[in-house]
Amino acid sequence: MKKTLAKANRRLGDKFYSGAFLGPSVVGVALFFIVPFFVVIYYAFIDNPVGQNFVGFRNFQNVLGNLSFQDAVRHTVLFSALAVPLAVVLALGLAVLLEQKIPMKSQLRTFFLSPMMVPVASIVLIWQVLFHQNGAINDIISNIGTATGLFEFSGIDWFTSPYSQLPIVVLFLWRNLGYNMILFMAALNNIPRDILEVAQLEGGKPWFIFRTIKLRFLSPTILFVTILSVINSFRVFREVYLLTGSHPYGRLYMLQHFMNNMFDLLDYQRLAAAAILMTLAMIAIIGIMFIVEHWYGRDIEG
C-alpha cells in the first residue's frame, strides 16, 4: 500500500517537473506559433476579417493564380535547383580534400567555416563591388577572354541581368559550404576503418573505394545536407534584400518578397493562403526526407 502510494506520488512528481521544465517553452511556442497558426488557417478560408464569410478555396485559387506569386515560386525553385546541388557536391569535395594528407588542415577548416560567421550585411558591399557593371568579376572575365583570344566580353550588370541569381548563388555557397563540409567530415570519420582497410588490402583504387563504400555510408548525410540546403535556400531573401532592396529586378523576386508585399498591403487572406501552401510544400519535402532516409539507411544502420 505504502509502496504504491510512493510510486503514485513519484509519478505525480514527475508530471509536475516535466511540466515545469517544459512549461515556458511550450507556452511560448503555443502562443507565437501554434495558436496563431490556427488563425492563419481560419483566415485562409474567409473573405475578410470583417465580414468573415466562408469562401472555400477561393483564397488559394487567388494566390495560385497571382502572377507575382507564380514568379516568386519559379524564382525560388530556380534558385534552389541551382544552389542546392552545388552546395552538396562542393561541400563533399572540400570534406574529402581535408581528409587527405595536406598541411594546416585545422586552419583550412577554420577558413572554410569562417564565412558563416560573417554577417551578410557586412559583406554585401564587396559583392556589389565584385558584380557591378564596372566590377571586378567582369574585368576578370574580359581579361581571360582577351588573353586567350577566345571571346570578347564587355561586361554586364549582374544584378539586373538574366544571370542575376548567380551572384546570390555564389554568396549562398560562400556562406553555407563550411557548415555542410563539417557534416560531411563527421560522416566520413564515422565510416568503420576496418572496411576501408580491407578494401585497400584487396587493392581497391581510391576512386573505387570512394564510389562503392564511402558514398554508400554517406548517403544519409547527403540526404540531410540536401534538405538542409533546400531549407537554407528558401531563406536567401536576406542576401537578396540587402543587395538589391525590396523591389529587385526580374529573377531575384523571391517568395519572401511576395510575403512582404502582402504584409504591406495588409492582405491577410492571401498571406494566410500562401503560408499554408508553403507549409504543405515543406511538409512534403520533410516527409520525403524521412521516407528516403529510412529506406536508404536501413542496411547500414543495423
Binding site: 521544465f21 506559433f33 560567421m117 554577417p119 550585411a121 563591388v129
Partner: protein, 294 residues
C-alpha cells in the same frame, strides 16, 4: 618505390587546391577589413564608379579597383563611425539590445525544455518533440505570419517585443540541446537521485555543466542567426528609425560610402570573436545537428 613517386605530386596538387579555395573563402572578409582603413578619397578613387562620385572633382577610376592593401592606412573611417556620427553606434546598440536578450533567453528556455524532453520521455512527449522539429524546419515565410498575427493581437507591433518574444521561444535550440542531453549517461542522473538530489538540482549541477560546450555552440548559432536578422524588423517594425544595423547597412547612402567598410568591419567583430573563441564547440554542435533522428 613507384607508388611513392606518384604520391608526392598528388599531395602538392591537393594542397594547392585547398589553399586556393581557402584564399577564395577568406578574400571577401579580408578585403572588407583592410578597406576599412582606407581614406575617403582612396575609396572614392577605387569604388566611386559604383557608389557614385562625391561630385567635387575628386579623382575616380573608370573601373573598380580592388585593392587589398590601402595606400595609406588611416583610422579616419573608424573615427567617423564611432565618434562623429552617433547613428551607427545607436543602430549597433539596437542590434546588441535585441540579440543578447534573445540568445540568453532562448538558451535558458530551451535548456529547460531539453531537460524535460530528456528526462521524462513519454509517447506524448515524442510527438511534441517531433512537432518542434517540424516547426524548426519551417522557413520564415511560414512562421512570420503566425508571429505577426499574435504580435498584432498582443498590441506589440512596432515595439521591440514583437521580435524579442518569438525569439525567446524559437524551437531551434530545443532540438539541438535535447540531442546533446540525451547523450548524458543515465547512471549519472540515477546516482544523483540516490544522493537525494531534486530535479532542479540535477538540472543545474549535472545536466547543464555536462552540456557546456553544447550551450556555447547553440548560443553561437542563435547569435549569428539574429545578428543577421532582416525579415523580422521589416515586418514587425514599420518605423525605419527602429531598425537594427543588419538592415541599415544596405541603405547606407553614397556620401557615407567611405564609412561603410568601417561599419561593416565593426559589425563582424562580435560574431567573428565568438567564432574564433568557440570554434571547437561550434564544430561539435554542427556535427550533432546532422541527422534529424534523435
Amino acid at each position: 618505390m613507384r607508388q611513392r613517386k606518384q604520391k608526392i605530386p598528388l599531395r602538392v596538387v591537393q594542397t594547392i587546391v585547398a589553399v586556393f579555395f581557402a584564399a577564395l573563402f577568406l578574400f571577401p572578409t579580408v578585403l572588407t577589413i583592410t578597406n576599412s582603413f582606407m581614406s575617403q578619397s582612396e575609396i572614392w578613387a577605387n569604388y566611386g564608379v559604383i557608389f557614385g562620385s562625391p561630385g567635387d572633382g575628386a579623382y575616380m577610376a573608370e573601373r573598380v579597383n580592388l585593392k587589398l592593401i590601402p595606400d595609406m592606412v588611416t583610422f579616419h573611417q573608424f573615427n567617423t563611425v564611432l565618434i562623429q556620427s552617433p547613428d551607427y553606434l545607436f543602430r549597433l546598440w539596437i542590434s546588441l539590445a535585441l540579440v543578447i536578450p534573445i540568445v540568453l533567453m532562448q538558451v535558458l528556455v530551451a535548456s529547460l525544455a531539453a531537460y524535460s524532453f530528456t528526462r521524462f520521455r513519454t509517447k506524448r512527449k515524442e510527438v511534441l518533440f517531433f512537432a518542434y522539429i517540424i516547426l524548426m524546419l519551417m522557413p520564415f515565410q511560414v512562421t512570420l505570419v503566425p508571429n505577426y498575427l499574435m504580435a498584432r493581437f498582443l498590441n506589440i507591433l512596432d515595439t521591440y517585443w514583437s521580435i524579442l518574444l518569438p525569439g525567446f521561444v524559437a524551437p531551434f535550440s530545443v532540438f539541438l540541446l535535447t540531442k546533446f542531453m540525451r547523450r548524458i549517461p543515465k547512471s549519472y542522473i540515477e546516482a544523483a537521485m540516490l544522493d537525494g538530489a531534486g530535479e532542479f538540482q540535477i538540472f543545474r549541477r549535472i545536466a547543464l555543466p555536462l552540456c557546456k560546450g553544447a550551450l556555447y555552440a547553440v548560443a553561437i548559432l542563435v547569435f549569428i542567426d539574429y545578428w543577421n536578422m532582416v525579415e523580422q524588423p521589416l515586418i514587425m517594425l514599420s518605423d525605419w528609425e527602429m531598425h537594427p544595423l543588419s538592415v541599415l547597412l544596405s541603405r547606407i547612402n553614397n556620401a557615407e560610402i567611405g564609412a561603410a567598410f568601417a561599419v561593416a568591419t565593426i559589425y563582424m567583430i562580435p560574431s567573428l570573436l565568438m567564432f574564433l573563441h568557440g570554434e571547437e564547440h561550434l564544430i561539435e554542435g554542427i556535427t550533432y545537428s546532422g541527422g534529424i533522428k534523435g
